[in-house]
Symmetry: C2
Subunit: 337 residues, 2 copies
């Protein structure tokens, strides 16, 4: 019934590329009816693919260039025009792929997406969305780092795009939208959020008002919006504190036990933690406002995460959320930029 | 040799007031030669003090008003002119106390400090400093929430005050100053930090450049500066993620063990965690830029934390860091705001 979807996957992006990326695509071939283009170093990709019988649904486009996690986004994107993620983006732009997936350098991927895929007309600032583990499941933070300085109309669009994405792709009805702030009362916060509050209140969205990070982690909203500077600092604070804490606890548990029992115990407890916090289950999150499906997977994405990113990309494609954004935002508001 | 110091303590501030506050002051009477004024509900204070023989060094000033953690700062400060923290601030202003300590509502305490103690001439924006547990010990984040919108000259003053405080009170020579950002390269970040970078570079401070939250937690600087919106969101993200994670792990450990062994094990492991993260050891951190010593203890401060806050207040008084700020900043820069 559904059309054959072709997905371009950046084989070279992420800490465990290309091994886990290729493995993930093989799993996706098994579990979906999509076709794939793996973009990257052919020799290294073939080391994983070998003579896998599922190979027929995987095309390889060779390139020797790729952008690493350490590369500075702007200069890397300028210099490496044939980087794997750049080729994947052009395939998406040209309609040779229905969607692209990368676990690579986030900043570079956003630049690549804007340069080669472009933004939706009427969207002033495409944004990075991230899915956070929260007490009730997952919730989205937009913008997580694309736009360091924002105006209220940008935050409004983040909220609108997040709402459409949650409704169409994550199947959440009437997504609850919050404005990330340092207090709950209207009037709290910096000029940006004070001026955004009223605009969101009148937006027709299911706006729940100001929220603090504690409300967000409680699961009180589906989408929290903020400027990309605040979002990125918050994201990195969360990741850093989580890994610091985990390390302290691992050390403490190790100290209390003789080696083998300690290791066993550690494994069982931290598996529980991993289950709750692991981003693999969700595969990734899209760059919203880009005029094509560009799913960013976590830098530590494993095969399972990539397989789930494929499923997410397929769902995103079928949901036509980009057309909905175009109708709803691009159509209504005439952009002055 | 040292003069008798008198410290005004808000007996009603914090989650465990007045019990833990009074207990902490009793401990401080034992371990220091300071004198104390406990401000709060006399009957409740006396329930703790009873006929303690150390009572002679503790004066009580009775008030029935106090500001709770849930009160909205601005209106509470306006309405409750005789709130315990307000009286403590006036005692400090009038020289009847050398310093004040409160574990109460942070926003209200800052308003009280500005209203009754006032700011140092030449300091444009007093700021909230917080001490974070980091891999190498502790590091300071300024501003943690007093000033939602800042200009570069404000961040410069946060850095200058933080540097002086670390040098004089925490005895760190040449304190390392970082600018909290979303990337390390100069030119990264929002307009505020881009414009602050060069000012800090030329400030004569030991400026280490842009830092990300991961660098901060690694212990790469002694002081990180940011606007109060970013600082507060980051602080609350850190606290919320830490408590979320701890809860998940506690649940996991409970599940793996039969009740009693689990509880024992839990206690021993989480004591280790507590030791690393517990703010009690440090007592608190000052509001910088206020023209008097106003130490904010954590809302969950126990007796031990209050005792340490007293020692910190004494050290702060003896170090004369406020005079140093006056000489160094108030004197050099003629304020326009």
């Amino acid at each position: 019934m559904s059309q054959k979807i072709k997905i371009a996957v950046d084989a070279m992006g992420g800490d465990f590329a290309p091994v886990e990326i290729v493995k993930g695509v093989i799993q996706a071939v098994r579990e979906t009816d999509a076709e794939f283009i793996l973009v990257g170093d052919e020799k290294r990709i073939m080391e994983e693919l070998k003579d896998n019988p599922l190979r027929s649904r995987i095309e390889i486009i060779h390139t020797s260039e790729f952008i690493s996690m350490q590369d500075s986004p702007t200069s890397a994107v300028k210099k490496k025009k044939d980087a794997s993620m750049a080729i994947a983006a052009r395939l998406t732009r040209e309609g040779k792929a229905s969607a692209m997936i990368s676990a690579g350098n986030t900043g570079a991927l956003m630049e690549v997406a804007l340069l080669y895929i472009g933004r939706i007309q009427g969207i002033k600032r495409p944004a990075i969305s991230t899915l956070w583990p929260v007490k009730t499941g997952r919730a989205m933070l937009i913008d997580s780092g694309a736009n360091a300085d924002c105006r209220p109309e940008h935050l409004l669009q983040f909220a609108q795009m997040g709402s459409i994405y949650c409704e169409k792709v994550l199947e959440i009805s009437k997504p609850r939208i919050g404005l990330l702030n340092i207090g709950e009362e209207p009037g709290k916060g910096n000029n940006l959020v004070v001026n955004t509050y009223e605009i969101l209140r009148q937006s027709g969205l299911n706006f729940c008002g100001n929220i603090e990070m504690s409300d967000f982690i409680e699961g009180s909203v589906d989408v929290a919006v903020c400027d990309g500077f605040v979002g990125n600092i918050s994201l990195k604070t969360g990741e850093t504190v989580a890994s610091f804490l985990t390390q302290i606890l691992k050390d403490a548990i190790r100290k209390k036990f003789v080696a083998k029992i300690g290791a066993l115990f550690l494994k069982s407890v931290f598996n529980e933690l991993k289950k709750k916090l692991d981003p693999s289950e969700y595969g990734g999150a899209p760059f919203l406002g880009v005029d094509g499906i560009c799913i960013k997977s976590h830098g530590k994405a494993n095969a399972y995460a990539i397989k789930n990113a494929v499923k997410l990309a397929m769902k995103a494609y079928e949901s036509q959320y980009i057309n909905k954004i175009k109708d709803h935002i691009g159509g209504v508001q005439k952009s002055k930029n």
